[in-house]
Amino acid sequence: MVGVAVEVEGLTKSFGSQNIWSDVTLTLPPGEISVLLGPSGTGKSVFLKSLVGLLKPERGSIVISDTDIVRCSESRLYDVRKLFGVLFQDGALFGSMDLFDNIAFPLREHTRKTEAEVRRIVLEKMDMVGLQGAERKLPGEISGGMRKRAGLARALVLDPEIILFDEPDSGLDPVRVAYLNQLIVDLNAQIDATFLIVTHDIGTARTVPDNLGLLYRKHLAMFGPREQLLTSQEPVVQQFLNGRREGPIGMSEEKDVAQVEAEMAALQARGGDRHNGVGPKGAVGGDAVPPQLDPSPGLPERRAQRRRQERVARMLHEFDPATADAIRASLPADLLAQADAGVLTPPAGGRHWATDSTQAIGVLPGPRDGR
């Protein structure tokens, strides 16, 4: 099973007269892990809730397996939602049920499985997230990290094709965040679903995803392969990924240009990001592209990895040299050779990528047949 793509186009959301973000266009490629970053209060959670149809954007479309969930009927929406697994910030477990019943809940509501089957599936998922032996605990009795993992297990029981994470790192210590990140990568290798993580943890953003996006000033400032943002010269992206004060993002609103320039000059005088020390939340200085997390030994390879390599190889020429170099460093030799020989045609959708099923190239496992 391969996850489905999520195609978001021109999405705009306001509450009353307050605009949250407008004209957000991006595609979550099937089976890949994407991270959406953004300063606090930029509407990342609102974006997530819009994706599952809990909030209705005013304009634009969200197409998931041929259904525009902004405009479809309520009953169709409930059907599409069965494709989703969502991990809410605090796990959103049902407080009146113990962990086993919480995780069994979707199975009991939606399937006609026998209690023995339910038990087998629930224990398997609890094992996946490392919660063996905690079946009879109530959500109020366990730590925040366990609640998150239990919420994740509940999101997994219906074998979702898209999994959304709302700030998986919030309220966890850095070590647990690292474990959770590894768990996310391992899960992706096992179930090959499409992942979207909304966070402001820079360590997660640097090491986990295939694609990165940044919401800033009511717009999607940038969305693309991780190398594109990690090597970006865009001041906002650089400031955010390095977790520093110097740059256009201010405490409550944007700063004036002169102040930003003065700050940047001072930063350069100190030696730039590379000598800026380690910032908060796992930021490491500079525009380095750290290696991506691999699945734990013994697990299958991430099938999305090959699909993604092929995808970025096709759009190699669209990036600036620094990004292109970083991408080339991540590609295997056969793809690199094909890219240099000009065999690979760019995808139809351009920079933001759209499913391209017109040609599957010789040796490559072609992208999933979309529409």
Binding site: V52, D79, R81, K82, V86, A92, L93, E109
Partner: protein, 271 residues
Amino acid sequence: MTAPGKPEAPGLLDGKLSPTRPLRASGDLFAFALDTVRAMPKRPFQLREFVQQTWFVASVTILPTALVAIPFGAVIALQLGSLTRQLGAQSFTGSASVLAVLREASPIVTALLIAGAGGSAICADLGARKIRDEIDAMEVLGINPIQRLVVPRVLAAMVVATLLNGLVSVVGVAGGYFFNVVLQGGTPGAYLASFGALAQVEDFWSGELKALVFGLIAGIVASYKGLRAGGGPKGVGDAVNQSVVITFLLLFAVNFVMTAIYFQLVPPKGQ
């Protein structure tokens, strides 16, 4: 990166003074009520939740109801006792007391308790779930919270309300008897003999029907307010407060209308 149409800072009174605002709120409540009624016959019926909720609502309302019903019956007995003595119609004390308790006192007491104790408990429960994202999680799992949570609660409130009405009738009449006979020196025989002189079975049925409607309204308003709670724990408190106030207003208005209709439909005994 330029926004189409410069976004404006939200004003303090944004939409708060709009003349259509109360209309929108009541329309929203009505739409919610329709959704609930439409979801009632939908399978699978949540029997477990319904039984649990019925037990829950009953457990928070039975004792306070009984305790309120006793003084209510007593007050009616005291008022009637002195009034009938002044008029020289002591023999009718019993029948007047039964009439007052069955027709008005028990639906009113039921309304107070089902809204104040049952409704507030339902609203607080749903509100707490809402702010913990449980309701969102449920929707995302493809389960309609109206069918799964609201319908069993509304039905539970209706069932418990009709049962409470019976309880109040019995306790109220018994309380009236005690005060009239033991404290005011009335004659037990006269009290019991006049029991059926004025009251009729229709009075009891009208009380039960009122209680059923009160349970429906209290359940719907409490669920509506609970599911729309927002803004953290304070939001839940506000929602409970509003739910009780709105339910009281609605119940007393509906009680008036139903009483007026009753007198048009059922002629008083002896006419």
